[in-house]
Amino acid sequence: MTELLQLLLGEFHAKMLLVLLSATQWTIYLSLTAFIGGGLIGLLFTVLKISPIGWLRRLATAYIWLFQSIPLLMLLFLTGLGIPAFFKIDVPAWLAATVSLTLFTSAYMSEVWRGALESVPKGQWEGGRALGLGFNWILYSIVAPQALRIATPPTVGFMVQVIKGTSMAYIIDYNDLMRWGKKIANSQLDGAEPYIVYPVVALIYFGLCFPLSQWSKSLEKTMSPK
Amino acid sequence: MTEDTNTGSAVVVEGMSKFFGDFQALYDIDLTVDYGERVVICGPSGSGKSTLIRCLNQLETHQQGTVVVNGTELSENTKNIEDVRRNIGMVFQSFNLFPHLSVLDNCVLAQRRMLKKPKAAARATAMKYLEQVKIPEQRDKFPGQLSGGQQQRVAIARALCLEPQIMLFDEPTSALDPEMVNEVLDTMIGLAETGMTMICVTHEMGFARQVADRIIFMDSGRIVEVNEPEIFFTNPQHERTKTFLGQIL
């Protein structure tokens, strides 16, 4: 593999590509953690948001509003620079990045899922209640399966936002694809000019994001209500 | 019928067929409509009646045969389709008023854009036809603020503003609540009395009986029967027509 790349691109560019690709794994780890973590927290707040208990609903509303309003960049600065400075503690970049992206993801995901749940006709809830089923049971067995259909395409689509979002984490020195791209572009080496490095970086991001957005689009077609 | 493409007839259709992909919607249609004539086309849904009148102003293009409107033959590459269309007014089942324009602007737009009329003249013409359809007081409202019957009357006025020689009606009352059907039919009857050439696709048999010079019955993409209203209703020639009238009357 390495030899083939060297043959095709020359030693320098092959090496550059390998460095970038290996840095990409950190982008992927961060994306996956944020997506799964954010998904779980998002799920919790989705349920709170539609719960029959008033103050839980308000709590969820506040949470979703707050983390949709704070720019991701500010979240990164707050967790990566602000909290360490304020509490005189050491927060590693990966932790700050993970927390920020998880909070960011959870807020947007619960917004999407709440929308999906609300698009299920009210009659479904009433029908469940008429059968004597409780809130949890109606949600789990009647409403959620229908909402899943509506929610899946935008959920997959949001993975693209998460991956693109991780590129901001380099700003607090998280060692991902973007940070290595910037390092190489700043190296002043021949063949590592910004107009070469950044398109390559872009291409790698594209390779991660494009399949997901196409998948989301095809899901939208197959899953749209008849 | 000859290859008469001069001013003799408003519409001359000969041997026209229309396909949607593999599906043949119209079979070998022959139809001549003279100026001043009122023709009603009826038939069960899916019989091709709407497709037929949509072919007359090329909202659909036919594949075989000839369609001559106002002396101009329509084909896929008709360059002057605008010249043909400006003499044909069209009224749609779902009104298709422009929701973002006021009633008056709906009537003014095409006069300004196509006829390049000055604003005042366009407004005057618009008001004239809004009065004809008895709705001048609604001029400043948006279509969404009007009832269905009012909207359809505005749509008729809008079409009349270009002073067409032929009016096409594509099921103009089918989307209306029953209590609003009559106000639209009355407007159409009024229009018929001015001598307008009208081709109407409709299920309103009372209107057909009162206004039509001829009634055309279509089924499965074919013209089954053409007759004067008296004969059509009292002594239809075809079994299929009888069944249809039995269902509808």
Partner: protein, 227 residues
């Protein structure tokens, strides 16, 4: 327990000036980016209509997918550090920032507008045709106003979402709001307080933008709510 020291920001007139200037630069660049992005996005969306040549359609789709599937920061760095080398001509970083913002916003707007154009009922176009409007007139007089009205809420949230990423232009030295915050935090070491204030300012700007968008909605799309 908590030792908040917001006065470390207020007490320095220089810091206040930087913040005010930062708000102004952020608003200026994202507003200009929004307007030009909308124009370019409209062009991209129109290029995808069924009547345009397939080369144009393909180019538009590729551009939109290319932008939407790569991070803004990469686009920004390419525009700022790559393009000037290619053209062998340096221009101010503000111009690079604006260019990157326009290129970025336009792709997202195009996607929203395309959906809006597709949402206009077919009967509207038929009515325009039967009234002899030309294609151009039909697009500008009939389709576009309705398309805008149909997707205005999506356009609003898309713009807000994009606006919240523009802080990245501080990375190339443009003195926007984020840059001002980092300038202050570098000097008073009160990062937490500074970024809380910055967040509040961003939220306030978003409120402002949302107010303007809904004002436009109320007046330009009056016909939608009128009933």
């Amino acid at each position: 327990m908590f030792d908040f020291r917001f006065y470390e920001i207020w007490r320095e007139p220089d810091f206040i000036d930087r913040l005010i200037n930062g708000v102004w630069v952020s608003v200026e660049l994202s507003t200009a980016g929004g307007v030009f992005g909308l124009i370019m996005g409209l062009t991209l969306a129109a290029a995808q209509s069924s009547v345009s040549p397939s080369v144009l359609r393909y180019a538009s789709i590729s551009y939109i997918e290319g932008i939407r599937n790569t991070p803004f920061i990469v686009q920004l760095f390419f525009v700022t550090f790559g393009l000037p080398l290619i053209f062998n001509y340096r221009w101010p970083f503000e111009a690079s920032a604006l260019l990157a913002i326009v290129l970025n916003f336009s792709a997202y707007f195009a996607e929203v507008l395309r959906a809006g154009i597709e949402s206009v009922h077919r009967g509207q176009i038929e009515a325009a045709q039967s009234l002899c409007l030309t294609r151009r007139q039909t697009f500008f007089d009939i389709v576009l106003p309705q398309a805008f009205a149909n997707v205005w809420p999506s356009l609003t949230s898309q713009f807000v979402f994009l606006f919240l990423t523009t802080g990245l232009i501080s990375e190339i030295g443009v003195e926007d709001l984020t840059w001002s915050g980092r300038y202050i935090a570098d000097r008073n070491f009160r990062d937490f307080e500074v970024f809380i204030v910055l967040t509040l300012l961003y939220v306030l700007i978003v409120f402002g933008y949302k107010a303007i968008f809904s004002l436009v909605q109320r007046f330009a799309f009056r016909w939608r709510v009128a009933r």
